[in-house]
């Protein structure tokens, strides 16, 4: 087949690829080639100094058992729900005022005046329920697949602590809009804590910073909600994930271990 020779478009001399100079045949030569390599060379620069790629590969490219299915994504889904809460929470904190006289008004301002405020507040509000639901689904998956058994007991325990911390987040976050529902629900919630014998009354006074819902109760809940507990959750989530990568995941219970043919004949004979 005859090749049709298309005339080259008129390109200014500066943009024409320069012929490679003798002795410089390795690596990118032109600005365009440098641009194309920029990502890889940045990663290479960092990796040369940190050796992080080994850890990343260890985390990301794991062997997973046969039969791994969509139920195994519930843990990641919970993590992304947490990340969504973290990001929207950080931006809500830019407008929120944790003072008894200003809290309700600042939430009204977020919902009514701030651009996309109602959306971001809504994502945070509904996202909290999503996170709790996902945690229970994840927990159910772990339970029904028997994935809490040796050697993963510690990861189950960490997961339970994460569940309790998430409940703490839900409890402390509920007060923050400071409307009637928040206020009375938090009073009831604090008094439920108080029904714990011996320590209950002291726990109540700690949560309220005194005998009554006072000037600093709201900021105390806010601090627990956005600093103390999220930090603990992030740290434990990291450890939870480390153990998942370290121990691997379990096969679904309906996949029975297969005996090799040769051994099977022995089994039958015996």
């Amino acid at each position: 087949m005859a090749k049709i020779k298309v005339p080259a478009p008129p390109v200014p001399d500066q943009l024409k690829p320069k012929p490679k100079r003798p002795g410089k045949t390795y690596g990118p030569q032109t600005p365009v080639e440098h641009g194309a390599e920029a990502g890889a060379s940045t990663v290479g620069w960092i990796d040369e100094r940190t050796s992080l790629s080994g850890g990343a590969r260890w985390m990301m490219f794991r062997k997973v058992p046969k039969g791994t299915n969509w139920f195994y994504t519930l843990g990641s889904a919970t993590m992304f729900a947490f990340l969504s809460q973290a990001v929207t929470g950080v931006f809500l904190a830019m407008y929120y005022d944790p003072a008894p006289k200003g809290a309700y008004e600042s939430i009204r301002h977020i919902n009514d005046d701030v651009f996309l405020g109602e959306l971001v507040h809504g994502m945070h509000k509904w996202g909290s329920s999503v996170m709790v639901v996902l945690i229970f689904l994840h927990m159910g998956r772990t339970f029904f697949f028997g994935a809490y058994k040796y050697p993963r007991e510690l990861n189950w325990v960490i997961g339970v602590v994460l569940l309790i911390l998430t409940m703490t987040m839900s409890f402390t976050g509920y007060l923050l809009p400071f409307d009637q529902r928040s206020y009375w629900a938090s009073i009831v919630g604090v008094n439920i804590n108080g029904t714990g014998p011996l320590v209950g009354p002291y726990l109540n006074d700690f949560l309220r910073a005194g005998p009554y819902f006072g000037a600093t109760t709201l900021s105390r809940f806010y601090s627990i909600h956005m600093l103390l507990v999220p930090g603990a959750i992030a740290a434990l989530m990291g450890f939870h994930l480390y153990l998942v990568a370290r121990l691997g995941t379990t096969a679904p219970p309906w996949l029975k271990p297969k005996t090799a043919e040769a051994l099977r004949e022995e089994e039958v004979a015996a």
Partner: protein, 229 residues
């Protein structure tokens, strides 16, 4: 074996450690390890202890509630309650306010204390439900206090008549000065209406309840006002 014993001697000089002093038993490595751990512990305690004290301080700090005028003595009769709003917490607007039901002491329904005191001439009932703290309201037709949350019902003097509450409604100290009725700190009562230091809702005071749910240092009854009422 004899050689091993020699090496295990507690004196560093016997263990052939270079630069050992006569009679020295702590190796420099052990000394540095201990010093490092102690210094780290001191440094951590230096910020952790003040921070924890800061967070837990309010639990041990006594809360003083000022006496507040709620009306003249003739505003309150012995047969029905008059709602009055008081400030439980100053400076936080409406969320620091609470409703209190006030009436005059009524010898027909109120037990006369063996040692009648100045705080009992008017009865001030707290509106915090003793189940979990929802606001109760007084229904005059039924002469009952009723809680909207979980159906707690209290009789005219605040004793539990039904529902989940664990003790009668809390009360406030009252006293009279210059023809005005003043309301002071809150106190809790058991089912015999004996005064106790204030407890939170949901904490029973009968039987072992008063020991299982101790009063906390930040809110106490006026000293010497306990006993039967």
């Amino acid at each position: 074996m004899a050689d091993r014993k020699q090496i295990k001697s507690k004196y560093t000089a016997d263990r052939q450690i270079p630069g050992a002093f006569e009679g020295e038993t702590v190796t420099r490595r052990a000394f540095m390890t201990t010093t490092g751990q102690v210094a780290g512990g001191v440094a951590a305690a230096a910020f952790l202890l003040p921070a924890l004290g800061f967070a837990f301080g309010p639990v041990f700090e006594e809360y003083h509630q000022p006496w507040q005028v709620v009306g003249n003595t003739e505003d309150f009769g012995p047969d029905t309650y008059v709602p009055r709003t008081i400030n439980l917490v100053e400076g936080i607007g409406d969320s620091g306010k609470s409703t209190v039901y006030v009436r005059k002491f009524n010898p027909r329904v109120d037990q006369v204390m063996k040692k009648q005191d100045e705080y009992n001439n008017y009865i001030a009932i707290s509106t915090s439900c003793m189940h979990l703290g929802c606001p109760v309201h007084y229904v005059n037709a039924a002469q009952r206090f009723i809680c909207p949350c979980h159906g707690g019902v209290y009789d005219f003097v605040g004793k539990v008549q039904g529902g989940p509450p664990v003790r009668p409604l809390d009360r406030f100290y009252t006293r009279v000065a210059d023809g005005k009725v003043l309301i002071g700190p809150r106190f809790s009562v058991n089912s015999e209406l004996q005064r106790f230091s204030p407890r939170d809702p949901g904490e029973p005071l009968d039987g072992v309840g008063q020991y299982l749910y101790p009063s906390t240092p930040d809110l106490r009854k006026i000293p010497g006002t306990g006993g039967s009422q």
